[in-house]
Symmetry: C2
Subunit: 227 residues, 2 copies
């Protein structure tokens, strides 16, 4: 279950930690199985099974297991009829970044996140730790994003260092926001499908590293929703 | 040098990795000493001293040393006469969050970051890895922030889950933005000194965890600068 191929084959994923297990269950996701390693946790999660700590340690992918581990069904695609904006990720590799972006989509009411097949797996334990329960409320799919974008009729905005200022861009009622890889940005192939290149103005005088992809996504989603 | 007390006593700090060392040097910060462990790196950094890999490993705080390690003087406070906005951190503990916030201050031209004494040390290696060269351009100081805020004449904005919408708040020409601890937000003591409680509106229907402190800082600094 710690490896992606097993996760996909069985359509199951594992989360660890009281807070994220509780968040998922509150989002009305019922665990297939739930294990705890002490009786205090058993009182809080009455449906759980009590197992010896060394058994939980074997199942866990953490160096210091949290004492609770849930097995859940992967979420299927949601009803997309109401989707106004979609975020598309082109090869985002860092689990913390993907987790933060899923949480941001949830916060800003973006129901659909579409990832290139080389984006980090959203059921990776580190991603789940960063998303908390948001994974249950945002539809995350993996596909050929070039095909996805070609078939779309909505305007396609891409985040670039040298794009037009987002403050002067008219972000409409609906659209697609493409965010690129941590080191290389949006790939050339995908770049050809972008209808508007946008950027976040820089106010510091000196040359600076670009903003981190999760940080930039936060600012752009806020721009989309603030109207 | 890996421990805070030694760093403070000597006014020196260590950074590792080609990219961040180069960024600091480009920000016109001259290293006190610079060590590399191979001749390829020596060609790129001619002023460096070549040392055997095992020596570099002993100096390094990383499990997998990057091959280059620089020792720098800590930055002193900058000229504050031009400071319009200041960010104040109340007990931010995660090095990645502090590093991201320093980078954001640099991006948005905020020269001054004031941290409570229980905020994570900005010369912590993990913070430096996340800030890149920004640490050379943003003045980071540690102090009793209750005293700092009491003496200030600028309006003091604090980020809360239940504050007034930042979209409807008139953020003036200057002010102070206070961001709180990852788990507990702004402490009660500091809360009493806040003149306006602000928040980032939520668009997802369901209850969600609050935004991460670095993400929220990104959005609020963008709101301050977009005008």
């Amino acid at each position: 279950m710690k490896q992606k191929k097993y996760r996909s084959q069985h359509g199951l994923f594992v989360v660890e930690g009281e807070k994220v297990v509780r968040e998922l269950m509150e989002a009305a996701v019922k665990p297939i199985a739930l294990f705890v390693n002490d009786s205090t946790l058993l009182k809080k999660f009455e449906e759980a099974e009590l197992v010896p700590p060394q058994v939980l340690k074997q199942m866990s992918s953490l160096t210091h297991p949290s004492g609770i581990l849930g097995v859940f069904h992967m979420m299927g695609p949601r009803d997309k009829t109401k989707t106004d904006w979609t975020v598309v990720l082109d090869a985002v590799r860092d689990p913390g970044n993907l987790g933060t972006i899923i949480r941001l989509c949830d916060w800003f009411g973006i129901d659909e996140l579409v990832c290139s097949s080389d984006t980090v797996d959203c059921y990776n334990p580190k991603v789940l730790q960063a998303t908390m329960g948001s994974i249950a409320r945002v539809s995350v799919t993996y596909t050929n994003i070039a095909d996805y974008l070609s078939e779309s009729e909505r305007p396609i905005y891409g985040a670039y260092m040298d794009g037009a200022s987002v403050y002067r861009t008219n972000l409409g009622e609906n659209g697609i926001l493409v965010m690129g890889n941590e080191a290389n940005g949006i790939s050339e192939e995908i770049g050809k499908l972008i209808t508007e290149r946008i950027s976040i103005p820089q106010f510091g005088g000196a040359t600076t590293e670009s903003l981190n992809v999760a940080t930039a996504t936060a600012i752009l989603l806020n721009e989309i929703r603030r109207g």
